[in-house]
Amino acid sequence: MSGLVLALPNPLPSWLLKSQNFFCLPFTPEVDATLFGPNGVAEGAGKGSMIIDTSTIYVSDAQAFQTRLKAFELSYSDFLYQGYPFGRRMVALR
């Protein structure tokens, strides 16, 4: 990830300082494996953690993830954006 540059606000929100993990995942199967596979997020994340998913594309899959993660006391949100090239041209992404 040496090429990644993030412009973060100053000061950082306190909850952002605690613990964050970023995964670059292409599609739903990879999200599923990352969440529920061996050493997955579901088992490893602390109870009450928030998972924000920008990769899963089907409504039914997102809702299923939310249901499964509730059993681990984790919250789940779907977060979509207008992808390349629309997002950049509409200045939706920073």
Binding site: M50, I52, S77, Y81, M90, A92, R94
Partner: protein, 151 residues
């Protein structure tokens, strides 16, 4: 950017989301982010299906394609879909843009919603027919504006 979850989770996440983008919308509970994105994109796709039908007829009628392009991007029919795609259509450039295959997810999400509520969506159905023709002709990796080539 479209967020789907509880409102309290949205409020908790908002400072972080603000880092990522400027236009962030709370859309309702889980899955609503995907759903509203699909609805938005389907409207764009219907625009493209419309231009795919109108453009060849207009040119057959002897109208100047560049003049058509100016009108479609400044007149009452103007939309983001037209502003973005019409210049490429006039140049007949159907590569290097959002692919037809990539639009399938929106169609599936939209179809799931229509089947859940048993709604009648004739314009969506026509768009899917045009879209499917372009896919069947081998344009799945080309731009969504390649719907034009299917007519």
């Amino acid at each position: 950017m479209m967020f789907g979850s509880t409102l309290s989770e949205f409020q908790q996440a908002k400072p972080y989301l603000n880092i990522m983008g400027r236009s962030i919308f709370y859309c309702g509970d889980c899955g609503k982010g995907q759903l509203i994105k699909a609805f938005n994109n389907v409207v764009c796709d219907i625009n493209l299906a419309a231009i795919s039908e109108i453009m060849p007829l207009a040119m057959e009628s002897g109208l100047d394609p560049n003049l058509l392009g100016q009108l479609f991007t400044t007149g009452s029919s103007r939309s983001f879909a037209f502003e973005h795609f019409v210049p490429h259509i006039i140049e007949r450039t159907f590569t290097g843009d959002y692919s037809l295959q990539g639009a399938l997810k929106d169609i599936i999400n939209f179809q799931q919603a229509t089947s859940e509520f048993n709604d009648n969506t004739p314009m969506f159905d026509v768009m899917v027919n045009t879209y499917q023709k372009a896919i069947n002709m081998g344009f799945s990796e080309e731009s969504k504006s390649a719907m034009l080539t299917s007519l």
